[in-house]
Each structure stands twice: as C-alpha cells, then as structure tokens.
Symmetry: C2
C-alpha cells in the first residue's frame, strides 16, 4: 500500500526569530491564512496516501507537533540523526506492517503552489516503484540560478520518469547559471519515492549499522540506545548518490524550500505594492518588503525596500532580503554572547 | 534679575514611536546616560539664571513634566498656543515679580555639545539686554546646508553681538547651499534673550490681543478663558521678524535640533562600528544605524546601514536615516486608519 512519510525534524534557525529551538519552522503559521507548513505537507501526503500519513520528528518536538496535527501518526526519533536514519526508521516501521509498502517522503518545510500537479507526479512515481524496484526523487525544474540547492543531472529533453545521471552538490554562482541555462539540471527537492524494502536494502548496502538499528527498533528494540550512535548523514549522501536505478520526474509545481525569510514572500504572496505584510504592518514608500509581527505590535516602515522586518516574541530581526541566509550570523552571535534565551 | 524660561510645549511626533501624544520628546530619556532633553535644557538655564528657571508647558503635560523635573517651577498653558503666547505668558508672569527681569528662552528639545560656550554666549546676551533694550537670538554657525531651519542674515565677519539684517524662512536645497557657503547666514535656533518688558512691548505692538491676555492672566485673570482664543503663531513670525534692534551672537556650540531620529546619533554618540545602539541591539555587518529598544526585546540587524530601527511600547519604526523626517507620514497614516491608539 501507499504511505506518506513527512520529515519534520528540522530546527530551522534560518527563520529566527519566529523559529526557535522550541518552535521549529514547520510548526509556524507561515502559510496563507496562517497554515503551518507541516499541515500543508500532511495534506500533500494525504492526496496520494489517504490516511496512511506518518510524521517523523525528534522526541522533543512530539508534543508541539501533535498540537498542530493531532490526527496524524507520529514516529519519534529519540534524537535527530538526519534523513538517512529518519527515513530508515520510517521504512523499517512500515515494512513490519506492510511488506509491500511503497512510500513518498516529503519534507515538512516546503512550499508547493500546484499541489494537484505534485499529486499527479507522486502518483506516477508510486506506480513506477510498485512494479519496478527503482528509487526516485522529484526533480524540480529550476526557475532561477539557485546556489542553495543540490542538482540532478538528466538527459536533454527529459519528460516523465527518467534516469538520474548524477547528483551534484550546491554549485557556485557561475555553475548555477550554467545549470539553469542548460535545461538538463533539476533541483533536488528532497522528495523521494521508493518501496520500503528497497530503502532498507540500500541502507544495508551503504550504511549497514543504520539499517540494522532501525530494523531492531521497529522490532521492539531499545530505540534510545540503538538510535543515538547512528551517523548523522543525509539520505542523499548515504544512498541516492550511490544507488543504481535512481529515477526522477521533472516537476514544475511552484515549489520552494522555505529556507529563509526571503522565501516567505512566495508562500504568503504579496500585496498590490509588492510587499508581504500582515495586519500589523504599515509599509509606506517601499516595495519588496516582508513585514510580519506576531502580536499587536505595529511595525511601520518608511522609504525602505527589499527588507525583512520580523517581530516575534522577544526579538526583532531586520535584514536585507537578499542576505536573508545570514540570519545564522545572528543566531551564532546571540549564542556567543550568552544570549541563548533568545534562540 | 536673570531668568531662564524653558519652552516645553511640543508634541514631537517626529520621534514616534518613542514620543507619543502622552509622552512628548523632551521627556524621553534620549540623552547620554538616559537623560531627558528637558533636563539638559534646565541645566543650561541654571548655568545663567541659577534657581530662577521656569518651564512653560501645556496643562495636559504638567504631571509628566513634573515627574521628570520635580524641583523646577512649571507655568501651565491651558492649551498649546505656540511660542508667541507661551513666551508672552512667561514674560508677563516674571514682570509682575521682577520689573527688571531679563530672560533667556530655551527650547526643551535641543542638543548642545558645548554647554560652557553656550553659557558664555547667553551671559553676554543677558548683559547686553540688561543695559540696552535690544532683543536677541542665538545664531548658530551652520555646519551643513540644512533646509530644515530658518536663517538669520548678518554682516560678513560677524563676531560677538551683531545686528540681524533679516530673518529668512527655511530655504530650498540650492539656497541652503548658498547660505552655507556665504558665511553670512546663521541658523535661527529658537533661543532668545530680552527683558520681559521689551517682549511685552513688542507683543503689544504686533500682537495686542496676546499681550493683553497674558498680562491679565498674570494678574490673576481666568487663564482658560483668556488663553484659548489667542492666535497660534511663533515668536519669530509675530515679533522677531518685525522688531527693531534685533541682535544675535554667532555660536559654535555643537548645537542641533533633536527634530528627528537622525539627530539622535549626535546626541547619543556612536560605537566603534559607527552605529548608535543600546544594550538590546545586535548590529551585524552594518554602519550608521540607530537601533534602540525600550525593553528587553532584542533587535538584530544584518547587512543594513543608515537605518533607524526603534522599538517603543507597542510599535516599531524602520526608516531610512536620511528620510527620518517622513515619520510624520506614519503618524498621519495611523490616524487615517483609525489607529490613534498607537499615537
């Protein structure tokens, strides 16, 4: 049967001050109408797997996650150990229930504008891995020369289910521009499809201790003791880059990683002045701003553009939109100053 | 005897959100070490008048003013009626106590770096008006081509007490540049010196209803009824521009009108990175910023420069420093939206 696994393990400091250690970004009401990113991911899982949706998250985030999605099964990792271990744990758990389990794996912190098209693509991918033991990843057709994502190389003119020639790491700006113009590179979106059996077999080949541990945990073993020693490695590095028969489906679905405040404009949309604001914002003589306040505090901006201004709890961030990735510097500086209470 | 009159009637929306209708800017702890601008003005008055300092303020601001300066006499205007009426009321009040009263009149919302030099200049001015019935104003030697102030024209090479040839209104940019280069124009700082008798005589000539009303109030008349009908006009327009024997003393005293957030950098100074910050600010990769928070809310900025970011109470302002005068637009927009609670 078809299952959807939502990976909700991130800490998301890049959306500080809204995201904090105790409140990761997938739980924040950042979507249209205040929807949590996690809830949007669950909806996309249900579109292809019905009620068989499972959220994998770290033990310390279970309570907060359940508050947002009370009706979805939660599989708790004792500690966060990156995606190879998390996906392995989900695969081993599903395999014990359903030897024919096929899975789509969806990150919890992404934005997809065309969910119907994504459902069509995931259906196609699941159908493929039900009768063929391929392992697949959704390949996003690039819309810009992005340096923040890994890429998949495919043959020219790829349509539908095609082989991945190779995975490539995040490129520099020049290489990203070449990839963007080539038409033969897709973004690696972190959305996978495969049978649970194939995933465990690949882990057994490339990351045997993880395969053994997750299988033992699924069989009732001591999760805390078995899981903690596992390598922190992504499924991409551990498996996808080294596996055979890796396929992808080029997808134009209005996808974006909600990896920084700059991406929130796509998620929430902009007003007639080109600003992304909530009801507490007053933006005068400016465009391209993202201005959000989590309470009744009014934020007035005058004569500034392409700026992110976010008030959340006891902190305010002001950052140029095109350097929104640098919010990490703030997090690091606060930690260095002993101001961890703001993290 | 010598008296100092501090004019503390302004509402100061240009320092929103710190200044509010109920908390005008002269009462804010904006100076070094959190000193109120009003307290600095009182100190400058005491330097030339000893204990004979009087604050003139609107009735509704008396309580807040007394909280900041409990030991200074406060003369309450029933309603704000601009500086001609306020100075007239002070002059009439002092004249009943002291027929030989001479006054320095000091606005409450200014910054003076060299207070000793100002005291020397005010002493010189007071000495002049004690034996000669001139009316005088301190003329600030311009340090930039400022368009926000009125100017005084004097003869070339003016030093010490000199005649004012004429008063001129706020110039456009080109004219301001010409004034700045000429060496014969001084800023009109709103600091005056004259005998109380001369001030009332000038008001009698140019603004007789005001002269009669303030004299009646000083004699015990019904202040509320007498004061409310008075014209709202500045002492500059009502008297100084039309009086004879107007003198000035060119002054290089590090003076500035604290008329906008941009001026706060001069008042408070800057750190090694060129930013004006308080202990709640974390400014990364930027210079020329003014970042102030009135409570424990941390404000982090990354990669922005020459920006004003101020959190005060239930409001946050983000504005380019060189358009800091436009904060009035925010105040107007909030009022237009029915959000007067933020004013």
């Amino acid at each position: 049967m078809r299952h959807a696994v939502i990976l909700a393990g991130g800490s998301g400091t890049r959306l500080w001050p809204a995201s904090r250690r105790a409140k990761p970004k997938q739980l924040l009401p950042l979507g249209p109408g205040g929807e949590a990113l996690l809830s949007a991911a669950v909806r996309r899982g249900r579109a292809v797997a019905g009620a068989r949706v499972m959220i994998v998250t770290a033990d310390e985030q279970v309570t907060a996650t359940r508050a947002v999605e009370p009706d979805v099964e939660i599989l708790a990792e004792p500690v966060a150990r990156n995606t190879a271990a998390a996906i392995g744990l989900a695969a081993a758990t599903l395999l014990r229930r359903d030897p024919d389990a096929v899975m789509v794996i969806l990150p919890a912190d992404q934005h997809v504008r065309d969910e119907a098209e994504l459902a069509r693509i995931l259906d196609q991918g699941l159908a493929a891995v039900e009768h063929d033991d391929a392992i697949g990843t959704v390949g996003i057709t690039p819309t810009r020369a992005e340096t923040g994502f890994g890429y998949l190389e495919v043959e020219p003119g790829a349509v539908g289910l095609v082989d991945v020639k190779r995975f490539v790491e995040k490129p520099d700006r020049e290489t990203a521009q070449r990839y963007f113009e080539s038409g033969t590179y897709l973004w690696n979106a972190g959305m996978f499809f495969a049978s649970a059996r194939r995933i465990l077999a690949e882990l057994e080949t490339h990351l045997a201790p993880t395969a053994r541990a997750v299988t033992a945990i699924a069989a009732g073993g001591d999760a805390a003791a078995l899981y903690a020693p596992l390598l922190k490695i992504s499924i991409d590095h551990a498996v996808m880059e080294r596996a055979s028969r890796v396929v992808t489906i080029p997808a134009s679905i209005g996808w974006d990683d909600v990896g920084s405040w700059a991406a929130i404009a796509d998620v929430r949309g902009t007003d007639a002045s080109g600003n992304t604001v909530d009801e507490h914002a007053l933006v005068l003589d400016g465009t391209g701003n993202i201005v959000l306040s989590d309470d009744g505090t009014v934020i007035a901006t005058v004569g500034v553009s392409n700026l992110v201004v976010v008030k959340s709890g006891d902190a305010i961030l002001v950052i140029a939109k095109d350097s929104a990735q640098d919010v990490r510097k703030v997090v690091d500086a606060l930690a260095a100053k002993g101001l961890a209470k703001y993290l």
